[in-house]
Symmetry: C2
Amino acid sequence: MKYSKATNYALHTMLHLALTNSTKPVGVQILAEQQKVSPTYLSKILTKLVKEGMVTSASGANGGYSLAKGWESISFLDIIYAIEGKSSLFDCDFDHGPECSIQKVMLRSEEKMEAELRKQTIADLINKKTTT
Amino acid sequence: MKYSKATNYALHTMLHLALTNSTKPVGVQILAEQQKVSPTYLSKILTKLVKEGMVTSASGANGGYSLAKGWESISFLDIIYAIEGKSSLFDCDFDHGPECSIQKVMLRSEEKMEAELRKQTIADLINKKTTT
DNA sequence: GTCCCCATACTCGGATAGCAGGTGTCCGAGTTTCTGGGG
DNA sequence: CCCCAGAAACTCGGACACCTGCTATCCGAGTATGGGGAC
């Protein structure tokens, strides 16, 4: 089990957008060059973030992506959910009674991680001096 | 990102073995029947647990698997590691400096979950009356 | 009655296909900008 | 000098292959059991 590379790209892109605090959109090619990814692939990933309302897309020349309003409150968990989906990490689809004690343990543990990811925002990283 | 089904099978099998507190080994067919899985597939999974020293395998007639000594201290995390591997959930293989601030956040969150999984043992579930 | 041997049945374990989801790529549609000619 | 039209360049977005890793299966090797015959 691993987080997908797409999640990594999404997180780094969000951080990059936040660091370059530009009012103008940033083109995909710039962002892709930073991470050594195909621009078209990164575009596909960013589409998901747009649909979640975290970033806005601008068409045409000098177009690109920029952070949406209220981005300061976007947490790591929000980004991960946008890419990986909101479903639980563990699904016990057996039929042993209404509640599976194992699943309860797994979900409780997962909640611990999510709680931490929910506290951490992209904005937090900027204050601490970061690497792109 | 999801936990593999194999992990689910492993956890349930461990719980089942712990509940049937038998000194005699339990055959794969019995265990597989409980979870509606192919016996050969379950065998493959249990092999990993054997290599980690959590269960012991007995060949021959009336053979099967049984919990190893000291099983009371086996945690969820031990089982998950045995199946999923011990590598981190998140790998940032870029080259932006020696430390990736994003990865640090991810690892810290992952640690929260692992700490919870490390506290939970199979033996804990038995005391609380469980479903197979 | 006791011991030994053999056939049997059951088990484990590694090697082998099938499939799904993530990874990556390509091309078409749409939009803003810039340039150049005409008024 | 100002305005409008057209072309161009750049962008986004959905649709299409590839490939690693999980899921599942099959078959061979090994071992403890149980029965039967000999002593």
